[in-house]
């Protein structure tokens, strides 16, 4: 019935997106796979020990020995980049895992109980929303000292409301559908219905949100290390690499800082594009 309208407005756009969008998305997916593989196999891939600094070879340019040169302390930049991918993967991954699981639990609970429980949880989530993730991470460092453990836990809490809100909204929508009522009438417990029936339906949307969250968590944790509050030397980390190369930047030799900076941006762009495209496609399928 609505064929002419659909033909008029949607078709060319959809075609454009399915062609151009998917190629870009595949590229980004490829980058993410590469990122994960590098992080997993980092010790075998890095040509040199990034924690070993030769004093005489500080700030040399790219060469056969040092593909991307060295930093001020003579550490091999390429090796540090490779090994640094591990903290850039593990930190955000933990944040996203914990915040997603907690967010789903809280969101479902809030939606299912409704009433004043829902209201109170909503207000508490509002309070958490008012704390930027980076601030929470800094506060965690102030309380528990430098390192990654405390900030990762703290940021899991800071990121949780995004997922919780999303899940609560989706669960409210799904709850209104007849099939959920049908299950409950059959005597299945709320928990059973939630886990077996609801989750698969809202899972992809939550996954899209988590993918985007991963990118932002990576940025926040890298910022923390850049501030000198996160990953501590000698553990290689992209944010810390930029921090340690500040003096070299002022001396006009920014390569050892630019390399991890580009890596951060590329990985986050890839996460954002993949996450948003997945989200768009889901939204498109729904309408």
């Amino acid at each position: 019935m609505s064929a002419p309208m659909a033909g008029l407005t949607r078709r060319p756009v959809a075609k454009l997106r399915s062609m151009g969008g998917s190629r870009l998305e595949n590229l980004c997916l490829g980058l993410l796979v590469l990122f994960v593989l590098v992080a997993v196999f980092a010790p075998w891939l890095s040509p040199q020990d990034p924690t070993y600094g030769e004093l005489g070879t500080g700030l040399v340019g790219p060469s056969a020995d040092h593909w991307l040169g060295t930093d001020q302390g003579g550490h091999d930049t390429f090796s540090a980049l490779v090994e640094g991918s591990r903290t850039s993967l593990v930190g955000p991954l933990l944040v996203v895992l914990v915040s997603t699981v907690a967010g789903i639990a809280i969101g479902l609970f809030s939606a299912w109980r409704g009433g004043w429980v829902d209201t109170v949880i909503g207000r508490l989530l509002d309070v958490v929303f008012a704390f930027p993730a980076l601030l929470v991470a800094i506060l965690a460092v102030a309380v528990f000292g430098k390192g990654m453990t405390a900030p990762v836990i703290a940021m899991s809490v800071a990121y949780m409301p995004y997922t919780a809100r999303l899940v609560r909204g989706l669960a409210m929508q799904e709850q209104a559908r007849p099939y959920i009522a049908a299950y409950r009438v059959q005597g299945h417990s709320a928990l059973y219905v939630a886990v077996r029936r609801l989750l698969p339906n809202i899972g992809p949307t939550v996954l899209a949100q988590s993918t985007v969250n991963f990118g932002y968590a990576l940025l926040d944790l890298a910022a923390l290390s850049f501030l000198g509050l996160g990953v501590q030397a000698p553990t290689p980390d992209w944010g810390a690499m930029i921090n340690q190369s500040q003096a070299a930047v002022l001396r006009g030799q920014p390569l050892s800082a630019v390399v991890p900076a580009v890596a951060v941006v590329v990985v986050v762009v890839a996460f954002n594009i993949v996450g948003e495209n997945v989200g768009d496609r889901l939204a498109g399928r729904k309408t």
């Binding site: 309070v127 528990f144 000198g228 920014p254 630019v258 951060v264 986050v268």
Partner: protein
């Protein structure tokens, strides 16, 4: 009359909500630092070996021996009077430590906010009006990269290109005197605003596109209203709600990002103070700044809620209907 009453009631209930949020926030902030392992008294004597008597004296003087809720209550009472306690490191009132660094940070935020509001919104408008063209694609590419370019990366690139290589801008410090300060704040402001500018551009563009497709826009065109009048009075005007909301929230959330930019550019401000205070375990200062950052966000949120009905009268209608 009744509409004014309901509106006033709405404001009062929002105020109460804001107060409650701030109260919970203050409790969270205070208790988190109370939980910090280690004895603040032994921190205060700075590694000097102090006798237990001496430590007890210090505890008593600073009130460390009081129960938790008493201390929280005292602290909260002080905060409400603008007294955030004394800095262990600076041996000054926390408020004066922060106060002296606030102007630099506010200048940085103001400059970044200006960039966001002008460049971000303008780019979004151009993108929406040139939809599907090469200009639009370029803008969207910039937005995608910009949204993923954190302040420390932007700071790094700007510093090494415009500071070190070209020498157009200073690379470190706050500067002295009005012009010098402005000169010093250019690169930090850009670095601070890149991500937020990208977000505002995206919101402006999509909000404008949504409004461009509305029938009332076609009606205005059908009446011979000049293109720019239509864009100004019907498209941009109607798209303003989300743009203002997002911009305000981003700008209020920018306070924490100043810590990155001020550290990167070696500036003295509230943001860099937060980082040094964490490093020096100056808990009173950390507490105060964290509270300020959250309060700024909550207050701006409240103001946006207040302003929104003025931008979109339908919101006011929905509000009074509730």
């Amino acid at each position: 009359m009744s509409r004014t009453t309901t509106r006033a009631l709405g404001v009062v209930s929002r105020l109460a909500g804001m107060a409650a949020t701030l109260l919970v926030t203050s409790f969270l902030v205070f208790s988190s630092l109370y939980l910090a392992p280690g004895d603040p008294a032994s921190f205060l004597v700075r590694g000097r070996s102090a006798s237990p008597d001496e430590l007890a004296q210090i505890r008593h003087r600073y009130g460390f021996d009081e129960p938790f809720f008493v201390r929280y209550w005292d602290w909260l009472g002080g905060v409400l009077h603008g007294d955030f306690g004394r800095s262990y490191v600076f041996h000054q009132d926390v408020s004066s430590v922060i106060w002296s660094r606030l102007p630099a940070t506010l200048l940085l935020i103001a400059a970044a906010a200006l960039l966001i509001a002008v460049v971000g919104v303008a780019a979004g408008i151009v993108g929406a009006l040139r939809r599907g063209t090469r200009t639009d694609s370029m803008l969207m590419l910039l937005v995608t990269v910009g949204a993923a370019a954190p302040a420390f990366v932007a700071a790094l690139l700007l510093r090494s290109l415009f500071g070190v290589k070209l020498g157009w801008f200073p690379t470190i410090g706050n500067g002295t005197g009005v012009l010098d300060r402005l000169h010093h704040v250019v690169l930090p402001a850009i670095a601070l605003s890149v991500t937020f500018m990208a977000m505002v551009t995206r919101v402006t563009r999509s909000s404008m596109l949504e409004e461009l497709g509305r029938e009332h826009v076609e009606v205005a065109v059908s009446r011979g209203t000049p293109r720019w009048t239509v864009i100004r009075r019907h498209v941009l005007r109607n798209a303003l709600g989300p743009i203002v909301t997002v911009s305000a929230l981003l700008i209020s959330g920018m306070l924490v990002s100043t810590s990155i930019v001020e550290t990167a550019f070696g500036m003295s401000g509230v943001g860099s103070l937060l980082v040094t205070s964490v490093n020096q375990m100056d808990f009173q200062v950390v507490q105060a700044i964290v509270l300020l950052v959250v309060a700024a966000f909550v207050v701006v949120n409240f103001l946006v809620d207040l302003v929104h009905p003025l931008i979109d009268p339908r919101v006011a209608a929905a509000g009074s209907a509730r």
